[in-house]
Symmetry: C2
Subunit: 177 residues, 2 copies
Amino acid sequence: MAARAFREHGADSSGIGTVMKKVGLTKGGFYRHFQSKDDLFVEAVARALEDTGHAMEAVARAAPAGRATQAIIEHYLSAGHANMPGAGCVRAALGPELARKPLAVRRRIEVLLEAYRERLSPFMPGKTSEERIANCRLLFPSMAGVLMMVRVLPDAEKREQRLREAREFFLKTFAGL
Amino acid sequence: MAARAFREHGADSSGIGTVMKKVGLTKGGFYRHFQSKDDLFVEAVARALEDTGHAMEAVARAAPAGRATQAIIEHYLSAGHANMPGAGCVRAALGPELARKPLAVRRRIEVLLEAYRERLSPFMPGKTSEERIANCRLLFPSMAGVLMMVRVLPDAEKREQRLREAREFFLKTFAGL
DNA sequence: TGTACATCAGTGAACGCGCGTTCACTGATGTAC
DNA sequence: TGTACATCAGTGAACGCGCGTTCACTGATGTAC
């Protein structure tokens, strides 16, 4: 699936031919399904945000009462997430690439990010829904930044140590622990 | 300069031919100066981290006593920085690309990031130098994540609003304001 | 001071390659009568 | 039930293009004698 390839190798390094071959088709048939590569890109981002948003919501719902934010932070800043960018957060895997896309593409992506936010803001701290939304807009991008920089580290132990420090900070700041 | 082109368009979209032409040379001469494109990439990242680290240090030193962290946060999360990725932070412009580079490249980049951290951790909050370093490792990646997601937004007003919210949060959390 | 030689940054053509996109076509499927 | 036709997903070859890298060569510069 394209959603995985893009997050793993970046959109530029994932050719249409390769993606189509993985689905068992030739690249000529691509344009029966998508208008352009950017169109596929948006669809892939949509799929990825849908999947990871759904998974994250499940994590939050499965947490004991009052511990949803904690569960989200621990899940996001886990070694598993750091080691599997292809199945993980779009922000941490493609953030700057999103920002470089043409306006029309960014507009569509903005809508997708809003949907993700609506899905997860109920599990954020805050008395009003505005507060929860604002916290959502801070927590996920911040964790994404930390995660992407952790992924630069070659050493697994160092990664785990940085993740631990980050979990501690975000739990203290957003989950009152 | 390559450091600017990479941050503006990504490493894959900045060809050696284009970069050389901008310097006034033909692309054949490239390999008299660099072993490979990845080699140039590391040099460009080094240059960019040197420049932005130096500028950030100047901002911190120019701040009134006890307000260095505040000045750093306000400078990093400014509209100017959001609108000029080519001259800004490497993390926010190239983070996930760094993470995808081969091991040897990532090792060299890790060293460059450590140098940046040593330069700026003195201006971070914390009683011990370990605390300041840990805060440095949290603050910059977190702000980078926020900045890169702000850059996705097509609307200038929305960008400014998100930056304001983010400044408020980071100032409260890291500068005790 | 003048000549011979070595160095080496830069040139420009070529290499094989994969890219995004187009297009005339095939061939299976479903619909109409 | 059988025939004629329309639809349309998928094929495969071709398009022009730019990529990273190599290499034989040029030509200016500096050094040695």
